[in-house]
């Protein structure tokens, strides 16, 4: 996808580094090119399946990137990506049902809800050890799920079938339009992740991951930094969920709070590499296509088993993912 720039973005030695401004320019150009390419594709490719499938993959990229802001940069594992994703999806559904709102209104609203939820979670649990945060995120999914089940306006367990408003005519159709929106979200998420990574914020995250105490004593506002990671990650994940109802014309709690998404959100950055922004993208594209191939060639249970084994394998052998492996190989050769 956008992985044209070098893999070695994390901690470049100053002598070898090109001017950061130049790299940012290249990145922006690539991002715009990706968006433009998406727009061109909607005009030139007639087969709608391409966009149905691409939506899912691009959504996974956004999901993995959003998760990685907290999980990779700040080092706080979130088992409840679906709580945020679901919050966003239901925010979108609520606004669509209540006001027939456009997707462009739903996105910032979802981001606000997800960010708020992230802040709340962080505020309640980040003072204690990271493992509590992880456990609390499992709890959050159940609570969000229970909440939705008990709100009749959102359809509860029956789900909610909604017809989205007509998309702008130039996009060529609903699925093309939603795909473009999701592509926009993914590019935004990646840009956001990249900014965090190369700025003082990312440096602060790396410092607090290495030693929270030392970071704090070096002037890094660790608690506030972690809170903002929660909020940013929550906002991206929620934004990723918002277009779901526009995509499927339907939403129901078992899907948005289900295991599959939460599992992928963790697995993708882990496989690609958690330390830099191309990692989640690589993981998302790779896992997405492998799973696609696997569902066809082997039985579905084996497919899940495969994800489990791959997770264990990466944690055991390559905790920094594919990018980490590549870096190690490079260093070995030098």
């Amino acid at each position: 996808m956008t992985a044209k720039t070098s893999l070695m973005t994390a901690a470049p030695p100053p002598a070898a580094a090109r001017a950061p401004e130049a790299r940012t320019l290249v990145f922006c150009a690539c991002a715009l090119a990706v968006l433009a390419l998406g727009a061109v594709l909607t005009q030139t490719i007639a087969n709608p399946y391409v966009f149905f499938a691409a939506f899912i993959i691009v959504q996974q990229v956004a999901l993995a990137t959003g998760w990685n802001v907290l999980g990779g940069y700040a080092g706080y594992i979130n088992f409840g990506a679906t709580a945020f994703y679901g919050a966003g999806a239901y925010t979108g559904a609520f606004l669509l049902k209540a006001y027939g709102a456009s997707i462009f209104l739903c996105l910032p609203a979802a981001a606000l809800v997800g960010g708020g939820l992230g802040l709340l979670m962080g505020y309640m649990t980040l003072r204690v050890q990271g493992v509590y945060f992880a456990i609390a995120t499992i709890a959050l999914v159940v609570m969000m799920h229970t909440l939705v089940l008990n709100i009749d306006y959102l359809g509860g367990a029956s789900g909610l079938a909604l017809m989205p408003p007509e998309p702008p005519a130039w996009t060529g159709g609903q699925v093309q339009f939603v795909f473009l929106v999701m592509l926009g979200i993914a590019v935004l998420a990646v840009a956001c992740a990249r900014w965090i990574e190369i700025s003082w914020v990312g440096r602060g995250f790396r410092a607090l991951r290495a030693s929270e105490e030392a970071a704090e004593c070096a002037g890094v506002p660790t608690f506030r930094l972690k809170l903002s990671a929660c909020a940013i990650s929550g906002a991206i994940l929620a934004m990723t969920g918002a277009p779901l109802v526009f995509y499927a014309s339907f939403i129901e709690p078992e899907t948005v709070f289900g295991l599959a998404l939460a599992l992928n959100a963790i697995a993708m950055p882990l496989i690609g590499g958690k330390k830099s922004w191309p990692g989640p993208i690589i993981g998302a594209v790779l896992l997405g296509s492998v799973q696609q191939a696997a569902t066809i060639t082997i039985s579905s249970e084996l497919n899940i088993l495969l994800v489990g084994v791959v997770l264990i394998g990466f944690v055991a052998a390559a905790p920094d993912g594919i990018l980490g492996l590549v870096d190690t190989l490079r260093k070995g050769r030098q």
């Binding site: 509860g156 499927a248 078992e254 899907t255 579905s300």
Partner: protein, 422 residues
């Protein structure tokens, strides 16, 4: 990439030719190319026990192909795993239609998973056989959608009406409604309340509970306090078991004459086997039971062949509930294709609206929404179950049909406590 490899594989299997360009094959001589039926199955995830349906569809395909195919063409199934999640559905059905170019669609399992396909088939004007989606077409109102399950017209309210009819005959006036917080149960409970009122019954207690509730004692005690005559239960497999166990433990009170209705679970072999004799007296829905009024040689042969496949695959050992109706879906498609001489959606739909079809489970006629014009959901009572042997459920007289009257095979044993053998 994966698609062409997949096509290649299928082709190799079908013709024994390993080298052939997929493009040649799809655009090749239309007369000889197979008729492709596309469907999504929940092979994984919470709904994965429904994958037994695939065996039903495969048996139908084998039967049709053994008899020379449809219109002289072989039938081929194209299926994907939707992982029991709505998010996968739009892309799967677009793939079936736009990439795999299937001729005919079969819906995913149930109303939740079908919901995202409905606008799609309406928009594309595609024919689709609906699988167990209760009132699945009531929202979109496609005229090319046909239920294989005999929920009957106005299914939301009426599909379980038999329970209330049986109750009325037994003199039940006060109804309690209990439902799990899942889609099918919630819709059924709402419909049940309406049906009860239409029959002049009063709803004196209603309660929903979260899925996977394992202890029902508090709920049953509250329910007992309302002294209902009948308890309409809309539950899912785990909670069906817990509830029936709770029934034995906490008791239900002397007022209750009828208990059950819309419990999902006591259709499946595993649940039946686990609950055994504690099922006695419960009146619950089913779509097929081996009672003399329903059994035909065709269905017996189907079930025998199904069992032979299902048991080693660890699928539902009885296969009364889901698999026959996938076979029925195939039969509906076969009838329409054969009669119209085409796989054209509009023609098939028009023909099915106008003509009855003889299926494995009886004759189906359809109204404008693709519902069976006659509700044929069974209300059966468990009688004389002893121990936990699964084979007894294959015998007649264990699940006696009380409703509909046309298929009635026995009488309601009452009062409830006596029927339970307590």
């Amino acid at each position: 990439m994966t698609i062409s490899r997949r096509r290649l594989g299928k082709l190799a299997a079908a013709t024994g030719l390993a080298l052939a360009a997929p493009a040649v094959w799809t655009t090749g001589r239309a007369q000889n190319r197979p008729i492709r039926i596309g469907a999504s199955f929940s092979m994984t995830g919470p709904l994965s026990s429904t994958k037994a349906g695939l065996v039903g569809l495969q048996l139908w395909r084998d039967d049709v192909n053994a008899a020379g195919g449809l219109l002289g063409r072989q039938v081929e199934l194209v299926t994907y795993d939707d992982q029991s999640t709505v998010a996968q559905i739009p892309s799967i059905y677009s793939k079936l239609v736009d990439i795999d170019k299937v001729d005919i669609l079969v819906s995913p399992y149930g109303a939740v998973l079908s919901a995202p396909v409905m606008p799609f088939i309406k928009q594309r004007g595609r024919f689709m056989a609906g699988m167990f989606a209760l009132a699945g077409n009531d929202g979109v109102k496609s005229d090319r959608y046909f239920h294989s399950a005999p929920w009957g017209p106005d299914a939301k309210v009426n599909w379980a009406r038999g329970f209330f009819e049986v109750g009325k005959a037994a003199g039940c006036k006060r109804i309690a409604v209990l439902n799990a917080d899942v889609e099918f149960a919630k819709v059924s409970a709402a419909g049940g309340k309406t049906a009860a009122k239409e029959l002049g019954q009063e709803v004196v207690f209603e309660q929903s509970y979260p899925p996977n509730t394992s202890d029902f004692s508090a709920i049953l005690r509250n329910l007992r306090g309302a002294t209902p005559d009948a308890v309409f239960v809309c539950s899912y497999p785990p909670d069906s078991s817990a509830l029936i166990r709770g029934l034995s433990e906490v008791g239900i009170g002397d007022s209750v004459k009828l208990f059950g209705g819309a419990m999902v679970g006591p259709q499946y072999a595993a649940t039946l086997q686990a609950l055994g004799s504690s099922l006695n007296g419960i009146v619950n829905f089913n779509l097929f039971v081996p009672e003399p009024t329903m059994v035909t040689p065709a269905v017996t042969s189907f079930l025998d062949r199904y069992t032979a496949i299902a048991v080693p695959e660890k699928l539902d050992a009885l296969g009364y509930y889901i698999p026959p109706f996938y076979y029925v879906a195939g039969q509906l498609i076969a009838a329409a294709v054969t009669a119209t001489g085409s796989t054209e959606s509009a023609a098939m739909a028009t023909w099915l609206h106008a003509n009855p079809v003889k299926t494995l489970v009886g004759t189906a006629t359809f109204n404008e929404l693709g519902d069976w014009t006659e509700r044929r959901v069974l209300m059966t009572q468990f009688q004389g179950i002893k121990g936990n042997d699964i084979e007894q459920f294959r015998q007649a007289g264990r699940q006696v049909i009380l409703d509909p009257p046309a298929l009635k095979s026995g009488e309601l044993a009452q009062p409830f406590l006596k029927a339970r053998g307590a």
